[in-house]
């Protein structure tokens, strides 16, 4: 192994906890904001889920009402920095599901707003923003995957040494 590689490696190791803190706080902020914006309007939230035409009615209601609370819970856990790796993995799974749902809506030719941050449901033809919605979600996915890989971060409640042992 060359010395430059080692030096670069050491620098990455030093920067990683800071990058992870950044990823954690950005993800936490996005999740909490997304959850709160939906929690205040349960009707719209259910309609946003219904817009995707993927679930039976009972589940649409349950997801519409429950999902915002899941987002807030995951956001708070990330903010505090507890069980970062597990929580980040859960967020990654959630974001993958979101991306799949948006892609399926686009493929089926539905014209909906993703309802990611409140709102949602049918919009006019030409008013869909699937491309941007997917790019944004891919960015969030990247942050979550980074955290699964490097869960140790600054300003967290995690005993980082234990986190990496498990």
């Amino acid at each position: 192994m060359s010395r430059t590689y080692q030096r670069r490696h050491a620098r990455v190791d030093k920067a990683a906890p800071w990058l992870s803190m950044f990823a954690r706080l950005v993800l936490a902020g996005v999740l909490i904001a997304a959850g709160l914006l939906k929690v205040v309007d349960p009707q719209s939230s259910v309609q946003a889920v219904r817009g995707y035409e993927l679930l039976p009615p009972t589940l649409e209601t349950a997801v519409g009402w429950g999902l915002p609370f899941v987002e807030i819970a995951l956001g708070l856990l990330l903010f505090a920095g507890v069980f970062t790796r597990v929580v980040a993995a859960a967020v990654a799974v959630l974001v993958v599901v979101f991306i799949a749902a948006v892609v399926s809506a686009a493929v089926r030719g539905l014209t909906i707003d993703c309802g990611c941050f409140g709102g949602g449901g049918t919009v006019g033809i030409g008013q869909t923003e699937y491309g941007w919605e997917i790019v944004r979600d891919l960015g969030l996915l990247l942050l979550a995957v980074w955290l699964v890989w490097k869960p140790r971060s600054r300003l967290s409640l995690d005993r980082a040494d234990l986190e990496e042992l498990e």
Binding site: P42, Q43, W65, G66, V70, I72, A73, F83, I125, L162
Partner: protein, 245 residues
Amino acid sequence: MSPQPKGRSQSRAEQEELLASRLRERRVFAIVAAALVVVFLGAGIAFQSWRTSRAPSAVPAAASDSAGFAPVTLTSGKPILLGRANAPLVIALYEDFHCGHCADFEEEFGPTLAAAQQTGTVAVELYPMAFIDDGSRAASNAMACAAEAGFGQGYYRALFANASLRWSSEQLTTLAEQVTGGAPASFDTCVTTAAHADWVQSINTAAAANGVTQTPTMFVDNQRVDIATVTPASLNTMISEAASK
């Protein structure tokens, strides 16, 4: 000899034991945290269920809103007129009672419109579309019942003031009680039997025929107005210009 750091004085076995106990603690903590998340989720769903199925809250202004407006006779495909028939300016509104942006629109522009309706400057032609869910249909039907019974304007505002409700028959009749202080029995029957279901459908058809594909949509004097560009002040200007013509 100065005391050595704790970790160093321990044997390897002790260190491993300490680590194992920390991991055990961590696992217990994880289970507690997971349980808390589940409880949080359950409580959240219960909270939303309560929030959408509770009784509507009274809207003080709603009772006087309909004062002086004549009861409406419903015609298939024709909107509900809210205001005085001879008003110089007609504003057509296409709204669904479960559309979030419609509730926002009503919150922002409702007071301006209601004041102009009261003074007789504006009459609103309401197309209460119902395309979102069962609650939309029930609320649209009840809106028609209320307009027939002569308290349409107050009921309209009270419906949007309680937009987070799911609109069961019971909620819709309770709302009428609050608006009128005693709705006629015929209103309750009209709501529970969905008496105007066909009219509601005809409004959806009429909206599509008029090129309306989303709510809220507003036409001021037959001109479609982009709601995103309007403020209560600019709406007021439009109203007073039309009134002075």
